[in-house]
Symmetry: C2
Subunit: 301 residues, 2 copies
Amino acid sequence: MTTLCQQDAERREQTAQWFQGLRDRLCKAFETLEDIASDEIAEEVAGTFCKKKWQREDAKARNDNDNDNGNGGGDGGGGEMALMRGRVFEKVGVNVSTVYGTFAPALQREVKGASLDGTFWASGISVVAHPRSPRVPAVHFNTRYIQSAHGWFGGGGDLTPNEDDPAMRDLFHDAFRRVCEQHKQGRYEAYAKACDDYFTISHRNRVRGAGGIFFDNLNEDWQRDFDFVRDLGEAFLEVFPKIVRARARLPWSEAQRAQQLRVRGYYAEFNLVYDRGTRFGLLTNANPDAVLMSLPPLAAW
Amino acid sequence: MTTLCQQDAERREQTAQWFQGLRDRLCKAFETLEDIASDEIAEEVAGTFCKKKWQREDAKARNDNDNDNGNGGGDGGGGEMALMRGRVFEKVGVNVSTVYGTFAPALQREVKGASLDGTFWASGISVVAHPRSPRVPAVHFNTRYIQSAHGWFGGGGDLTPNEDDPAMRDLFHDAFRRVCEQHKQGRYEAYAKACDDYFTISHRNRVRGAGGIFFDNLNEDWQRDFDFVRDLGEAFLEVFPKIVRARARLPWSEAQRAQQLRVRGYYAEFNLVYDRGTRFGLLTNANPDAVLMSLPPLAAW
């Protein structure tokens, strides 16, 4: 018989392993895409990922001092950043992390599923790609599993093109729509709306990009929720390279590049002013390089 | 005999006029500096300022609807942005604004000198220069006068070089030090410390630049405070062009340019994550172009 505690541990193991495996496959897919050599970038060298492990500050301090911080299991964990600065991808980061500890008191009130004592365990994958060509859209994808009072999944994916192309937008949306509808009727509409609501740059009265899906606190049936999250990962792994292949050889003008740099400025504004994950990371002294991996390689204002 | 009310009105008139006049002289000084043609920029065209007036949203709405918003005098005012994208200055903005109305309730509690009913009048000048050459430092200067429960001045100036040059740093600091010490012993030390405290990028554990001065709620003797603020303006008008002239012809390398773009990334992070004026402006729907004038023309991460 499996006890509840064993079950929780198995779920942590399974999700963390899934995120890790998806990371490996995504990095491989991005490196393969570097082989595309359009006229503009043919002279440049194809990139490969550099990986860098990091540990949470509290965990480091505890290891240094051999001194628990008094909250029982202690705060700890860490992650691994994989960063490539290539030719098709001017900058692309794929981060995985598995962290645990106690939510800061302010956050304890904010997080819906926080346990009474605020302890949590969280694992996830986060991808942000900024292609060099303005004809290829930037993309963000993230899924995570959190255990606190209960366990839940969250995540999403959204596209930031520099031009209006309904076919490209539909290709991206349809990939997630199929997964959503397969798992639950009406889910796509709700998650697509949540995405538009979330990625709004209020001060500019515009959305960050062409949308996608966004969800949090998914806690219906663990196995089915996990299957859903895995299917989303598979869908992303299939659809984004397809979009890159379809567009990476399109020629581009100086004006299109300038427009891309302006869109990237808006992107940086959103992430630094509004994005919860970014602000939470910065204000809680997480590794700034990992938190800010999402920022564009070059942006203009 | 001058009544208190007349006196307040005269002070508003005098300060707003001073900021306006300083704006004109600064724009002229920056345009003159565009004549410097170092080897790297000799091919480029010297810039001139474009000016653009803007009105506060509430004021616009009131003018459109001829409908007061119910807080007595109403919210209103506006400003003028002057922006130059030139060759010595890749981007430099000089904004003046004069606005009045009622502090939002949240802000009423935050602002020390807010009147009981939250009404205020504020006028000021704000300058941010991002030179093209990485050998020339970026600079920020701002002074303002606010009337609410009482009247007070605030402001400061700080330098963001891309290399460590004590002589340049001292030249900048000494200009403000002289003005501070002339007006009150110990003021420079207090204001320089306030500047370092304020312009700290906590998540990177670094200060934004080489410091300067920062002050707020200055409310000792109106005439002497105003003289101090004017002397700061004169000092800035003298010292920054001197620094630009001394450094604008220095040759620079690709590595120095890349370093400048990284420093500008930190600059954008500070302004979007921490700067009170920027965040206040963005979250209260001020003109985003005026609020974000400070952002660098190009930044790298």
